[in-house]
């Protein structure tokens, strides 16, 4: 009696362990290959399009199965899940990457496949614009490919602008401040901002740093010949304070999330937002009834006269794919299919991305997205947003420090000092 019960319970305990050990093998013995693809796009058109592209590829290559896992939300959430999978030794074959410091950390940990040779031999590398591809170059080797290369800029509601009597979008910093005054006079919320999430507000400071300091100040500070407490970075904070003094954001912006920012823009409750090229599609998805969202226009971050940067300097970033060390050649071939000119053109037509593939640029029919693409193509200095350029500690550190400016708890000089301290403490690692 006792012995039988013991054996039954032992079997019950062992069974789940055996099953757990079974999962996770990549290729069956008979030439069948599985490609595990993790991406971040939980809304359409990207969500359905990625699946359709995968289905097309599987039809053409019956021995390949593409398994998609979607981890929607902020970059941080995706990166943490990816990190966990890497630590466990079961990373996906193909996954979303933003390049920069985060990718570099994974490269240093020997987790990412070096695709330089593949890119050169297949000619795949030549289909991309140099700038966007360079975001995935670490120490001269290629570790990823872009599928989107955009810029951060202002997305605005033309109806609200004309209601406030603003004839054309502001071109200079002074124009921007007076536009805000006009909007406030008509009781329209000038800017939607989800500063609770911290990264939307960081765009303002980073762009002002780009305008005041240009590439030289950034290179200086990054190479540690100078510092992030130098004059241009303090000035960035001071100019930001000019903006804050006008109180241009919605009530409670300090605690608001990016989701509520999308809600405001998608329902015509705020006149503009400073956001990347993904802004309009996300805002549209938040409209109360589909299609009721205002059609947003784009204008670049205004010029700030007197700084070292040019009005054609761009803060931006893109989206791309990177591959785990064990990813099969089929995974690379699939990614090549995903980023071919036809698929890029199709998504560009839906404003889902700004194509880095040079032959697909004509797919951009939306004049607003064409503005973004031209901005990127003509950028005199292209700065990747700090929280992707640097490692997570430094990037999150900047976002935290900028929030203190929005809350008014630090002066621009204090904030710049504090950020430089974070950089100094972490750059060696």
């Amino acid at each position: 009696m006792k012995r039988r019960d013991f054996l039954i319970s032992a079997a019950a305990l062992a069974a789940p362990l055996a099953l757990a050990a079974c999962g996770g093998s990549n290729s069956g013995g008979n030439g069948k290959v599985t490609v595990n693809w993790w991406h971040i796009n939980g809304t359409d058109p990207l969500k359905s399009t990625w699946q359709n592209i995968a289905n097309q590829y599987m039809k053409a290559h019956p021995n390949v199965t593409i398994k998609i896992t979607i981890i929607p939300g902020a970059a941080l959430v995706f990166q943490q899940k990816l990190q966990t999978a890497m630590e466990a030794g079961t990373p996906p074959d193909m996954f979303q990457s933003w390049g920069g410091g985060n990718l570099e950390d994974y490269v240093k940990a020997d987790q990412i496949q070096d695709i330089t040779t593949y890119l050169q031999q297949s000619g795949w590398g030549d289909t991309f614009g140099k700038g966007p591809l360079s975001l995935y170059v670490i120490n001269g080797r290629n570790y990823g490919v872009p599928w989107d290369a955009g810029a951060v800029g202002f997305w605005y509601d033309p109806d609200l602008f004309s209601q406030a009597g603003i004839q054309q979008p502001p071109a200079t910093w002074a124009d921007l401040l007076s536009s805000i005054d006009k909007l406030k006079a008509k009781n329209i919320t000038p800017i939607a901002l989800g500063e609770g999430d911290k990264w939307p507000g960081a765009f303002y400071w980073e762009y002002l740093a780009v305008r005041r300091g240009g590439q030289s100040a950034f290179q200086n500070a990054y190479s540690r010949k100078g510092s992030f407490a130098d004059k241009p970075f303090v000035e960035a904070g001071q100019y930001l304070q000019q903006l804050l003094a006008l109180k241009p954001f919605q009530n409670g912006s300090l605690g608001a999330t990016y989701a509520s920012e999308q809600q405001l823009m998608g329902n015509g409750k705020a006149a503009m937002e400073l956001m990347g090229q993904w802004g309009p599609t996300n805002d549209a998805a938040s409209a109360a009834t589909p299609g009721s969202n205002p059609k947003l226009g784009f204008f670049p971050f205004p010029s700030v006269p007197g700084g070292l940067g040019a009005a054609t300097d761009v803060l931006g970033g893109g989206n791309g794919f990177a591959f785990s060390k064990k990813a099969s050649p089929e995974a690379l071939d699939f990614a090549r299919f995903v980023t071919n000119a036809t698929n890029q053109r199709g998504l560009a037509k839906q404003n889902a991305l700004v194509p880095p593939v040079t032959t697909a640029v004509d797919g951009l029919v939306d004049p607003e997205m064409q503005k973004v693409q031209k901005l990127v193509a003509n950028a005199t200095y292209y700065q990747l947003y700090y929280d992707q350029f640097f490692s997570a500690t430094v990037g999150n550190g900047l976002n935290d420090q900028v929030q203190t400016l929005f809350a008014g708890t630090k002066t621009p000089a204090q904030m710049a000092q504090a950020f430089d301290a974070v950089v100094a403490a972490n750059l060696k690692q």
Partner: protein, 322 residues
Amino acid sequence: MQTAHQDSTWATASQASRTQQAPINKRLRTGTRWLFIVLCLLPSMILFLVFVLLPVIQAAYYSLYNWNGLGPLDNFQGLKNYASIFQDPVFIGAIIHNLVIVALSLLVQVPLALVLAILVQNVPGKRFFRLVYFLPYVLSEVVTGLIWSFIYDPNIGLISDLTKLFNPSAVPPAFLADTRTVLIAIFIVMIWKYFGFHFVLYVAGLQNIPAELFEAARIDGANSWEVTRDITLPLLGSTIRLSAFLAILGSLQYFDLIYVMTSGGPLFSSDTMATYLYHKGFQNFQLGYGSAVGVTIFIICFVFAIFYQRWVMRRDLAGAAE
């Protein structure tokens, strides 16, 4: 069993049978009985070891390094992580926030649950009240956080709409965006969610008080307040001590609602030790530092638990109630 004396009292009979069985027990004690006990304890011991003890030891080991989670552990720091923790004003703030939540729990949540449990004791429809008060506890933390974030939203939320109803030109309060009000605002949600649990504990405790005591007190002419003060509260003593213990421990480790509603912000004004661990350990990919924070929280909670059980709950655990 035949006893030497024909005494039929319960005590002598059982005493005699115990002495008769003694030689048999001695044999069983050393044999298969011990093996059986060990085998029964083994599964839970293994689970406890693997999922509780081992991670704590592992965390203590990682806390001695700076490590981003990938690659080898090659950046030995010794106890520097612990020094950094206590030098970080954000962590000191987090501890203070934890203590504030502990204090508010003991001063507001526990008494509220107690008072309601006593009030609802003999009221018609008491089953309905018990259900309604317990319901928020059943909701998932994330759903609760999302619902209340919506209620608190200063532009489209419930509170904002109510404010505009009474005063159309007023600017609705943004409780979660103000560093002075955010902790209290979250605590209100915590009361709403968790007092039901303590309430149920007290209801169960009240049911353990024999009804005869209440009847006797009434016959002697005691009024409701005297009954509560002299019978209910003392006999609920062990439940109150347990409830306070769980409230304090839960408050020291609190993470869920804060992470969902504010991520510890704005400006870390609603950060607790657990959300601090999450920022610094996971979001910044500094697992060594995060492990040090984890070990610190563990030591704080462990010391508190030992102290509380030895001193405050000594009577309850010794099984002295006879």
